[in-house]
């Protein structure tokens, strides 16, 4: 861990405080960098993803001799210096052409890494699609199609990584005008012949049309980039680190209100706990006729009483 120099003025002190761990975190920043040899395609893909991630993105121009799966310490160093929790490393080699390595960090240490190969034939950059592009920093809609994202561990990691990568800032409310584009990931089912199907990434602009009904008709227009990924190497997160990273602060837990429930109709029902009642001291309706009277019959026969006596008395009162 690199310890920075002690802040000499208020501005540098504020910058340092912004990097400290907080209850509600800052937006995650991404660092884009290249390896010793890159292809046009991998660089173009990296540029396109960089433009989707603006303004929370930093791009390095120089080439770096890094092999993430052998030694990821340089990535950790860059992460801590630039306060970036995501790293995208582009490289190209004969064995792994058009390679993009996505890495996530926790506390500036590598949490997990995912190596993806881009399909040369299907790649289309942003410039290929002649449409308007959404504003910078817009929160995208995300979707994942395919059951494989829940079943196969590598694909589950992909889902977690890319959901985290593209989701942007967590906000309480959003303007409907701001729902401009959607990033869609899909994959077919794994088969005997193809156990690792390609993951298709398509980015569309959302267009709403009048439908004559309350809900609008939604149409999508592809705006790019278009990439098909092949999952290569994966580095799973260390369990202990992941557990710590998923910890939630206690303050944010919603205080559960006990004894209040909402039933199926939607009515709020509360439960009031009263103490135990002493039944012997309870005031009940007095039926004077049923009162025990000393009778002439000694064998305990209860003299039959006119039950209307009480009602008659009641009626008299009402009148």
């Amino acid at each position: 861990m690199i310890r920075t120099a002690k802040p000499r003025n208020a501005r540098s002190k504020r910058a340092l405080e912004a990097r400290e761990p907080k209850l509600v975190e800052n937006r995650k920043s991404t660092l884009f960098l290249s390896g010793t040899s890159t292809s046009d395609l991998s660089r173009s893909a990296m540029t396109d993803i960089h433009s989707l991630k603006k303004p929370d993105a930093i791009k390095f121009t120089k080439k770096n001799s890094i092999h993430p799966f052998e030694d990821a310490t340089p990535l950790e160093f860059f992460s801590s210096k630039n306060d970036a929790s995501f790293l995208v490393f582009a490289s190209h080699s004969k064995k792994r052409p058009h390679n993009l390595t996505f890495a996530r960090t926790f506390d500036h240490r590598i949490l997990d890494m995912l190596e993806l190969g881009i399909d040369e034939s299907t790649f289309r950059p942003l410039t290929f699609f002649k449409t308007s592009k959404p504003g910078i920093g817009m929160k995208p809609l995300l979707s994942f199609s395919g059951a494989i994202f829940d079943s196969v561990p590598d694909y589950q990691l992909f889902k977690s990584m890319f959901l985290d990568f593209f989701r942007g800032e967590t906000v309480n409310s959003i303007n409907v005008e701001g729902l401009q584009y959607m990033i869609h990931f899909s994959a077919s089912e794994p088969t005997e012949k193809g156990p690792t199907p390609a993951i298709h990434m398509r980015v569309h602009l959302i267009k709403t049309l009048k439908s004559g009904q309350k809900l609008p008709r939604v149409e999508v227009e592809e705006m790019g980039p278009r990439m098909d990924f092949k999952v290569r190497r994966v580095q799973e997160p260390d369990e202990a680190m992941m557990k710590e990273a998923l910890k939630k602060p206690r303050a944010s837990e919603a205080r559960s209100r006990k004894n209040i429930e909402t039933d199926i109709i939607g009515d709020k029902i509360g439960r009031i706990h009263t103490g135990r009642q002493d039944l012997s001291k309870m005031q009940s309706r007095k039926m004077k006729g049923l009162k025990r009277r000393p009778t002439e019959d000694t064998d305990g026969e209860v003299t039959p009483v006119d039950g209307d006596e009480d009602n008659g008395a009641k009626k008299a009162r009402l009148a």
Binding site: E25, S173, S211, R217
Partner: protein, 183 residues
Amino acid sequence: LTCHRPVLVEKPIPIEFDMGNLCAFDTNPLDPTTYSNSLEGCLNDAARDCAQALINQVLTTLPMKSASDGVYVELPDPVTPLPREKPLPRAKEPTKWFLFAKKKGIKSKTKDGKLVYDEEKGEWVPKWGYKGKNKDSEGDWIVEVDGKREEKDDDKNPRVLSREERKDRIKKNERQMKKNEKR
């Protein structure tokens, strides 16, 4: 005719949502025939369905507010557990002085201000800092010599002693503050 186009999305496996992240999870498999015949068409359809489902979800389930600059929808908390970028902040340990002061009931003197009434001069002077009252003894033209120190035969000039004591106190304070930072 747009009124004939369907706006609802009906799928065998219902689509799951995480509206806090504006995300839809569609576990329905892609149609294998269209997938192999026309990949882009197949993906476009799947994407359109997901987009329609998401917009429907936004407009039907989320509470809406009208503000001066547009219609806002309130998003719920995200559902999918995603890792943080940094660990949860540690609560700062209270310093030894803080605990001592709390126990004794000593309160901070900052509210009294920096100025102190000087009887001799008849005006308010700062207690410390520039032209502070604590430095008065350092400029005295007569300095009392401590008997014990003379015996010990210290090399120090008795005139400078008061200033040195003050400087030592300052340094000690800095050292203790650094120790507190480390805790």
